[in-house]
Amino acid sequence: MKQIIIVMSYTFRDGCRKKAFKVSTVIMLILMLVLCALPRIISFFDGADSTSENASDVSPDTSDTSDTEKTDRFYYVDEGRLIPGGAEALAEAFPEADVITGGTADISGYEAEIKSDGSVSAVIISEDESTLPHIEFVTKSFMSGIDTDTAAKVLTDTYMSGILQSAGVDSSVIEIAKAELEYTSRFAGDMNVSGYIMGILMTVLTFFAVYYYGYGVAMSVATEKTSRVMETLVVSAKPSNILIGKCLGMGLLGLAQFAGILVSGVVFYNLLVPEGFTLMGMSLSFDAFTPVSALLLCLYFLLGYALYSVMNAVCGASVSKIEDLNSAMMPVMMIALLSFYVGYFAAISGAASSAFMKAATLIPFCSPFVLPFRLLNETVPAHEIIISLVLLAGTIAAVTAVSIRIYSASVLRYGKRLRLRDSLRNKTGRS
């Protein structure tokens, strides 16, 4: 045990000193800062826009559309006068456009012009089978010409205003009827936008830890082997102690980095995110982070990392040259990637309580990527968590036992890479 702690402590201190660790920590802190500052940045630009809009409201003289430089040209064809005032409404909504009224006979000419000039568009109004007006937009491509959403809304409003006016409805009532209503969403179930985002974030973070720190473990072991430090190390400590100590050291390093980032995230959130901030009409809430769920999240994070890090350590021990490390890690990374996608797709499909996700909860390689999302988005039955944890812990124990055997056989073998079967069969020193 003492040796494990010594190896762990040395690995941790060594990792802290590395430039890659310092750089990655600073980058992640900056990302966290930018993420938390994003609402303020967005609202700053929104504020600037609304300020200019307001300015135009209070001083109509300065917003004379005739003074605006005309960069676009819209041909408006409505021979049946199905939307009275449509051309004028478009001209008002798009002050940068020159709206020209035309006839059906000219459409082919318009199309020829549109083909060669992306700033030209045509708006053709015809009557559909239900006798309602049908709006057809002709643009050079889907990315050029008139903003069809805005134009469709302007013409629809104009059409409705005309109908209501002809029915004798007061113009103030028409204005109220045209107004867009603001909305917020509230969910009676467990799943909310915060839990959804945090769940996906935790899945991604776990994969990041498995990949980044797992790679760190493999690289550290491979470096020790290729630099022949291993020769000195294995006479000083048991291979099992080295393996476990190294994985724990890197795990501690990852945990310390994440803890630092999370703490700074909380600080940045409180300092920078405006009060009452909403996302897609929903306010952010961290209610899903109860002490129990936080503890389970940490546990799955650590166990997930542990499972993959011992396998990565074996990959590091199996190579004689650092250049071979990536190919040696390929099988482990494939398992990690597949398991991550199971968790990720189950999450983005919104199927938090689906049978697929429940099954993935019980697969030890997948559960560290699946459970964080479920824990933050639904009430996971206790028996599922217990079975999942037992299976995961059992798999870690089995994988560690096999890994120690392979690791012990591999660390002093140079030259041709040892085959798995030979590693398991090979008798080495007391591990």
Partner: protein, 310 residues
Amino acid sequence: MKLEVKELTKTFGSKLAVDRISFSMNEPGVFGLIGTNGAGKTTTIRMILGIMSSDSGSAEWDGVRIQRGTLSFGYMPEERGLYMKNKVIDQLVYFGMLRGMTNVKAMLSAVELMERLGISEYANMNAEKLSKGNQQKVQLAATLIHDPKLIFLDEPFSGLDPVNAEVLRDLINSLVEDGKYIVLSSHQMSTVEEYCRDILILHNGSTVLKGSLDEIKRGFGATNLVIRTRREDTDRFASVIDGGEDRPELIEKRAYEYEYRIKGEEDAFRVLRKMTENGIYPVKFEIKEPSLREIFVKSVEDHGAGAERA
């Protein structure tokens, strides 16, 4: 105390790497494990240390089977390995602590060893900034940091310049004076000859020769004759000696010195008589035992021939 190695055997697949090796050390001193590259020296050491299990046989210290945790031993591997990006003092303390020392004790021991090896000034430098010779001294310090009773040095002199080799010689001498048991693996015969009382010669995993170096040499007899002449007599000496039918076999010709293989003292006196009859008087005339290098080469050749016959 006593180191006893009994019938250690190891095979890798179909290759017999070490074949029933046995030897013992009954008192402090240096034991020489000699062999060509791939003879099985490192595998033997690894089996003794318990970092590689043997197919059969055992290694015991004072009658107790050697295990990593139960015996304080030091091992300097042939391939030097240090954490290149880490400070020298940090890694020495780390290795000391892995061997059961406290942080303070490991630090004190590291400082003392670095002083003894003349590398104190590099304590806070990364290992990569040190010369190869100094890296080797750091490696040696890592081997000795926990004051082991039994020390294995695998090719300790390779890559050392004469000055650093002298420092290492002094250290090995002082370790022997302190009562340490040292197993020295090398293919540098002069080094082994200088230190070892007992040797074991390995070839292709098999024991070719073993025992007390003095006895082995005595067993080979006084077979070498070294003659140095005056500078002006050098050419004439060669023609006189080479002239007769009973000329001795020349082993090596140095600047003013010749070394011959002789069958016995009679051969030597016949050469001397021939020289004096021709008015050539030697500056040096020495009948001596064969060097370890010759014994080694001859033993390996004989063993190879024996194996081929078998």
